[in-house]
């Protein structure tokens, strides 16, 4: 191991985002180039090309770090295989970074306000290497945990103040104590990695970037509760995550880290991946357990809670990926260290997945208590195309939309709920002035309506009727009283639904009504969409004083319906127009309504 510190290292992001941008060919290009040019001999040290996990700034993939011994690492973004020879020649061999290609100051700004704890290994270590993991404090947490009694481990977690990162924010230590307290020898531990919120991918990143870290968290949990079998329920749409985690589990079995007498520490733990079959509702814990049992993923009534009667009728503890990832670090650094981060009610950091109309989409990890504004503007560089911020949807389909006034809300469980959203799993969808809030409510409701398991009546039928009303409104067929009807239905559905899906599904509607009621009213009364986003309500007119005469709209029009000459305002011939909205989407000046 000692040698590796002397080696030249190339860290290449090979998370799903990186791979989608061509990371695999970049890895191959570096390896080929090193080989071809005999770089190792020339610089006098071995060259490691490491496939790491995601480092957050997915918008700028492929990200590559060149770490020369004794020097600060240099980060390149938007790397393609063509660029590799130049980097090798000029930087690795020549000693001068390719300045034009080095990631700009935004990269440092992106990292500056973050506190990357869970992500400390993602993007640094080779995700598939147990040795690399061990070199980065891997499995020291569990070694520490087993020196304590089960109750002491649980108390340590309680003391840390860790709350469930799946969205509910239930204190993790308390949850563990319930499962531990349930009688019986057979107990199960489940890691919920069925991350299904639109625009959320932080769990995937952890699974892909630090699978051993997750295994360590599960080992600590299993030891504390007294489980001998752990399931990781990963959605099947994460093939890379499944592959890497499976590889990690297999390696652990091979090395005796899992199975009988794990690591020689005196406890047994078996671990298995269960690939979810594509239902959002399987992220709900009771439906998830039904799915593991081979049943249809449908929610079951609670109580009895899983800690009493869970998987196959045995006491079961379910936590989210990020929660388990946190656990490992609590045992590396101690509960006091952990509880020193964050706010009164929310300790530690939280990972957010930023998508939508934000400049630097990707994953950020910030201490709880950071404001929404800091996350969107300071870390992620603000709104795309410098448009005006309108709202951010926090907490996925179960959460709510926060307007500009609420941007000072701190990201912790309690403040977000107070503001009308929720922490949820950590997806943040940023919306600018072109986004219609009625349409967003419709979008999320369409998602939950399709993903409802169909068991309870309010969720199965109620959501569909709410959706139909929203669709009507966005089509200009809204009626007086629709808003009140939606609010009333939302209330009844929240009150009467069986599981979390139905109980929270109306939230996007309620929060958009709360903050953007005027948009609903304009749709209903004036049959206008203030954001000019609802297709049925667009007029396909060019607004003369907004048009900058740039000529982009005629170029994107597929049916040549736009007449334009250089220096003139464009004109849309409505007889030819097919209302496809290409021009509207292309116009950067909001000059088409």
């Amino acid at each position: 191991m000692s040698e590796t510190a002397e080696n030249l290292k190339v860290l290449i992001c090979t998370g799903t985002g990186g791979l989608a941008s061509g990371a695999a060919s970049v890895v191959a290009a570096f390896e080929a180039e090193f080989e071809k040019k005999g770089v190792a001999a020339k610089i006098g040290s071995a060259c490691d090309v490491n496939s790491t996990g995601c480092r957050g700034l997915c918008a700028n993939d492929v990200l590559v770090d060149i770490c020369k011994p004794g020097e600060e690492p240099v980060t390149y973004d938007f790397v393609t295989p063509d660029l590799v020879p130049q980097i090798v020649d000029e930087h690795v061999l020549g000693g001068n970074p390719v300045e034009k290609k080095v990631a700009g100051p935004y990269y440092h700004q992106f990292l500056e306000k973050q506190q990357r704890i869970i992500f400390s290994r993602c993007g640094t270590i080779d995700a598939e290497s147990l040795d690399d993991f061990l070199a980065h404090r891997g499995f020291t947490g569990i070694q520490k945990a087993v020196t304590m009694s089960q109750d002491e481990v649980i108390n340590e977690v309680k003391k840390s103040g860790l709350r469930g990162r799946g969205g509910g924010g239930f204190p993790t230590g308390l949850k563990w104590s319930f499962a531990k307290g349930s009688p019986g020898d057979t107990k199960y531990l489940i890691c919920n990695a069925d991350e299904g919120d639109p625009g959320a991918f932080m769990d995937r990143s952890v699974l892909e970037g630090d699978p051993y870290g997750l295994i360590e968290g599960l080992m600590i949990g299993a030891y504390a509760i007294g489980c001998k079998f752990a399931y990781v329920y990963v959605r099947a749409e994460y093939p890379l995550a499944i592959k890497r985690l499976q590889l990690a589990i297999d390696t652990c079995y091979e090395k005796g880290f899992l199975g009988k007498n794990c690591m020689g520490l005196g406890f047994d733990l078996d671990m298995r991946i269960k690939a979810g079959a594509g239902a959002f509702v399987c992220g709900e814990e009771t439906a998830l357990m039904a799915s593991i049992e081979g049943q249809r993923g449908m929610s079951r009534p609670r109580p009895p809670f899983p800690a009493v009667r869970g998987l196959w009728g045995y006491p079961t503890n379910i936590n989210n990926v990020e929660t388990f990832a946190n656990v490992a670090y609590i045992f590396y650094n101690g509960a006091d260290w952990f509880s020193s981060i964050g706010t009164e009610g929310t300790k530690g950091t939280k990972i957010f997945a930023l998508t939508g109309k934000v400049k630097h989409t990707g994953l950020v990890e910030v201490p709880a208590g950071t404001t929404m504004k800091e996350v969107i503007y300071d870390v992620c560089g603000g709104i795309l195309n410098n448009r005006k911020f309108k709202a951010v949807q926090a907490g996925g389909p179960s959460g709510g939309c926060l307007p500009a006034e609420a941007l000072d809300a701190e990201v912790d469980y309690d403040s977000l709920i107070k503001a009308g959203a929720m922490m949820g799993s950590g997806g943040l969808v940023v919306m600018d002035e072109t986004t219609c809030m009625v349409d967003i409510a419709r979008f999320f409701l369409n998602f939950t309506r399709v993903e409802s398991c169909g068991k309870c009546i309010p969720c199965r039928i109620g959501l569909k009727i709410m959706l139909e009303i929203l669709e009507r409104i966005t089509q200009g067929k809204g009626q007086e009283g629709d808003i009140e009807m939606l609010e009333d239905m939302a209330y009844d559905i929240k009150k009467s639904s069986l599981c979390g899906l139905g109980q929270t599904a109306p939230n996007p509607v309620l929060s958009t009504i709360r903050y953007f009621r005027n948009e609903y009213e304009t749709h209903i009364k004036d049959k206008e969409c203030p954001s000019h986003s609802c297709k049925e309500l667009l007029h396909f007119r060019v607004i003369e004083d907004k048009c900058k005469k740039c000529g982009i709209c005629p170029r994107v029009c597929p049916v040549d319906a736009i007449e334009w000459e250089k220096g003139k305002v464009a004109y849309i011939n409505l007889d030819k127009c097919t209302r496809c909205t290409s021009c509207y989407d292309a116009c950067r000046f909001m000059a088409i309504d």
């Binding site: 009534p301 993903e451 409802s452 169909g454 309870c456 009546i457 199965r460 039928i461 959501l463 009150k495």
Partner: protein, 823 residues
């Protein structure tokens, strides 16, 4: 116990209760839609939501939430009512609301709730369902446009029946209940889903447009088919049984029925029922008056005296059997027997030798709480489907381990965790002996006050699991596991079913099973039991009343032998059709031809065609009295309809006959029951009028053995033949009377010969091809049915159908060597 408050009322209830159950117990009404007493809590419909002070902020489903100490519950408030009403409005948006033509109209839960909550208008709008209805099968119609997705059909089919025909498919609003690949329903057609459906989504097709529910008179009685003794509720209109209805509050079966019980009633309304006595004149059966018939019979009987042979069915009531016994003693004959004499009597006789009793030692509700169950014969579910459901419940609710000693796979083999101990045909005793051997050898036996242990131990030396496994092709390890489970279980049950197609070795099997029950301590232990299940509704009653040969009397088979040789001049068949159902058809026909034959039955059966006098009898739906089921439960039958024409109940016929013989007879079944309580040990103290909905179990819930004697019985050598025929029961039929019922006949209309896949390939036979079986020079032919439950070389044929003539080659063997060939 837990204390809580519901609507201001202080309530103390069991810790395991839900809020709904606690409320119901105390007469507090909470509306429900998806709740069902016999199913696990589900919580889908949200109609039963209540407020709980300790769980503020949301509404709590009362049907799934357990009670906790100090809970304060409110069952109605403006908010609760509003939410309930909203839920109903939601349902009615898409429901087709075709109540005027829906058979459920009038007893539909959705209709009732809509009415109760005055959902006069609907605030919401939406599309109406327009799904195709499933009318592929003849018995159960599924109209998913009326479905409220309460999931009761899915749950009952899984949790109770263990078939799993239904599942939810799709997601969200498109969710619906469907079969595999959304095809037409094709299952065992027990109709549990029909009985559970709260709306008109699943309906019995034979009842379509027959009557409005409120036009039906409900009559609770006992099913006339098997020894399970299920309560059936006759839906009567126009002196016809229009349907069999659902009553989960009465009887032993929680409203569960099988295809026969639920759909097999139409024979009672059949136009071909006998309506007048017939007397053979000039070689032909001609209609005659009752008096003429009775006078003729009385004369013949008197002339025959002690040489009269009486063979009765086991579907007569206890009271009728008592009178029949009086007739036999009035005439001085000891030749009295019943259909069970061929099989069930052997079983009970075996038990009598070992334990001094001749009935099951436990009751069905105890089986539900068992941890280990051994079923002897794979056909157990087929002969006693509802008892099979009880076993399934033990597996589901109590995690019981089921083992099946089987010569072929059946429904029981498919239940969760079922261990099928396969063996070569005819070798059940070898298997049971091996189980006993393991228990003794491993020191697991409960040997207190057992007699004959040394002899048995010695005799079992040749029955080590390894030896038996090698001999009969079984798995030695599986035998050992089963033996250990049975010996170690807190509560265990051994169940044996019997019937006319299983006449061989019945006494020996009973003794072997008793040995096992004694060694494991199962017999007579509270919660455990040995269950002997006769084939017919009153098989146990016939044993209790000793409808068996008297001293030096002949049994059924011997009577037929004797009659065939011309030594028994007069035969009286009551409710039996031996030409179709008894072994050795040639012998039976000869016997019936040679004797003066009196047949008393519902139909002009194949046997009745040989009769000199035929008396038209009444079905179980037309009479009062009692049946005793396989767990010794005495239950009351109640007449729902009048018999057709001049047909009379066996009770009335026997009364008249006794009068003709110058004997007195009790005036009514109640009086007859009073007399038999004085004569039948165990029945003493039971009062006819006081027999309630759950019946009366004679001998108590657990019947203690009077002695504990172990008796060695030898196993059998497997038959050496390439192809071996097993005779048995099919699920859709019971005896031969079900073949006259439209329901069972619509799904299993004709005889068949069943082959395993391997044999089908060897013989080049596909389902539906005609094949022939040859045995001892006789051939029978039928359509083939290819399945995967038979081991190689084993062929199966059900015995119910007259058309097959199976008893031309079946003469009582446990297994028959046959030569199959394709036609």
């Amino acid at each position: 116990m837990v204390n809580l408050t519901i609507d201001g009322k202080q309530i103390t209830t069991a810790k395991t209760s839900t809020i709904y159950e606690a409320a119901k117990e105390n007469g507090i009404y909470i509306p429900v839609l998806c709740y069902a007493k016999k199913l696990l809590p589900y919580g889908a419909c949200r109609i039963c939501l209540v407020e709980v002070e300790q769980m503020k902020g949301r509404l709590i489903p009362s049907c799934t939430t357990p009670v906790t100490e100090g809970m304060v519950v409110t069952t109605t408030s403006d908010e609760i009512n509003k939410v309930r009403k909203t839920v109903l409005e939601f349902l009615l948006v898409n429901h087709v609301v075709d109540c005027p033509v829906c058979d459920k109209g009038g007893e539909c839960d959705l209709q009732d709730l809509t009415y109760e909550y005055e959902v006069v208008t609907n605030r919401f709008q939406g599309e109406k369902f327009d799904l195709p209805t499933d009318e592929v099968n003849p018995l159960i119609e599924r109209n998913m446009n009326r479905c409220v997705l309460c999931g009761k059909c899915v749950r009952v089919c899984d949790e109770v029946v263990g078939y799993g025909s239904y599942s939810f498919i799709n997601r969200g609003f498109e969710t619906k209940i469907a079969t595999a690949f959304d095809r037409g329903l094709n299952c065992e057609f027990c109709g549990q889903c029909v009985s559970m459906c709260p709306v008109g989504a699943i309906l019995p097709r034979p009842f379509k447009f027959k009557a409005r529910p409120w036009q039906l008179k409900d009559v609770d009685t006992v099913c006339g088919y098997c020894g399970n003794g299920c309560t059936v509720t006759l839906g009567v209109k126009d002196n016809q049984v229009q349907t069999i209805r659902f009553n989960e509050d009465t009887g032993v079966n929680h409203g569960n029925l099988c295809v026969r019980g639920r759909f097999g009633y139409s024979y009672v309304n059949d136009a071909t029922r006998l309506t007048k006595p017939l007397i053979r004149k000039g070689g032909e059966l001609r209609e005659a008056s009752w008096d003429e018939a009775l006078v003729t019979i009385a004369e013949k009987f008197k002339a025959a005296g002690k040489d009269l042979g009486i063979i009765s069915g086991a579907r007569l009531t206890n009271e009728e059997l008592l009178l029949l016994k009086r007739i036999s003693s009035a005439l001085g004959t000891h030749h009295l027997d019943h259909s069970g004499g061929e099989c069930y009597q052997g079983l009970t006789a075996g038990l009598n030798e070992t334990m001094g009793i001749s009935a099951s030692t436990g009751t069905f509700p105890q089986v539900e709480k068992c941890n280990a169950i051994l079923a002897i014969r794979s056909d157990f579910y087929e002969t006693h489907p509802v008892f099979g459901m009880v076993i399934n419940q033990a597996i589901r609710l109590n995690d019981a381990q089921l083992s099946v000693i089987a010569d072929k796979r059946g429904k029981l083999s498919k239940l969760p965790n079922a261990r099928t101990l396969m063996h070569k045909p005819g070798c059940e005793i070898n298997m049971i002996n091996a189980l006993c051997q393991v228990i003794i050898a491993e020191g697991l036996a409960k040997t207190d006050d057992l007699q004959g242990l040394a002899e048995l131990t010695k005799a079992l030396a040749d029955y080590t699991p390894e030896t038996v496994a090698k001999m009969v092709g079984a798995d030695a390890e599986a035998i050992k596991k089963t033996a250990r489970e049975l010996a170690g279980a807190k509560n265990a049950a051994i169940v044996v079913a019997y019937g006319l197609p299983y006449t061989a070795h019945s006494k020996e099997i009973a003794i072997a099973a008793s040995n096992l029950a004694l060694l494991t301590g199962i017999a007579g232990r509270e919660g455990s039991g040995l269950y002997l299940c006769g084939e017919k509704a009153n098989s146990q009653g016939a044993i209790d009343l000793q409808i068996t040969p008297g001293p030096a009397g002949l049994g059924a088979q011997q009577m037929l032998n004797s009659a065939a040789e011309g030594r028994l001049p007069v035969l009286y068949l009551v409710g039996e059709d031996p030409v179709v159902t008894y072994p050795d058809q040639g012998l039976v026909k000869k016997a019936l031809e040679k004797s003066f034959l009196v047949v008393q039955d519902l139909f002009l059966t194949d046997s009745a065609k040989y009769a000199d006098v035929v008396l038209p009898a009444a079905s179980f739906t037309e009479k009062d009295g009692t049946f005793t089921n396989a767990e010794r439960r005495i239950q009351r039958l109640r007449a729902g309809i009048k018999s057709p024409g001049e047909a009379k109940s066996d009770f009335v016929v026997f009364q008249s006959l006794l009068n003709k013989l110058q004997k007195t007879a009790p005036a009514a079944p109640a009086a007859a029951f009073g007399e038999l309580t004085g004569e039948v040990a165990g029945y003493a103290g039971i009062v006819y009028e006081q027999i309630g909905p759950q019946g009366e179990v004679w001998g108590g819930e657990t019947l203690a053995p009077l002695k504990k004697v172990l008796i060695p019985v030898a196993g059998n050598e497997p038959l050496q033949a390439e192809y071996q025929l097993l005779v048995g029961s099919a699920l859709y039929h019971s005896g031969s009377v079900s073949t006259r019922s439209k329901g069972p006949m619509s799904v299993c209309p004709e005889p068949y010969i069943e082959l395993g896949r391997d044999d089908a390939v060897t013989l080049n036979v596909k389902t539906g091809d005609m094949i022939q079986l040859k045995a001892a020079g006789v051939t029978i032919q039928s359509k083939a049915k290819v399945d995967n439950r038979l081991p190689k070389g084993v062929i199966f044929a059900p015995y119910h159908f007259a058309g097959l003539g199976l008893n031309r080659i079946y003469t009582g063997q446990s297994v028959i060597a046959v030569e199959p060939s394709k036609l």
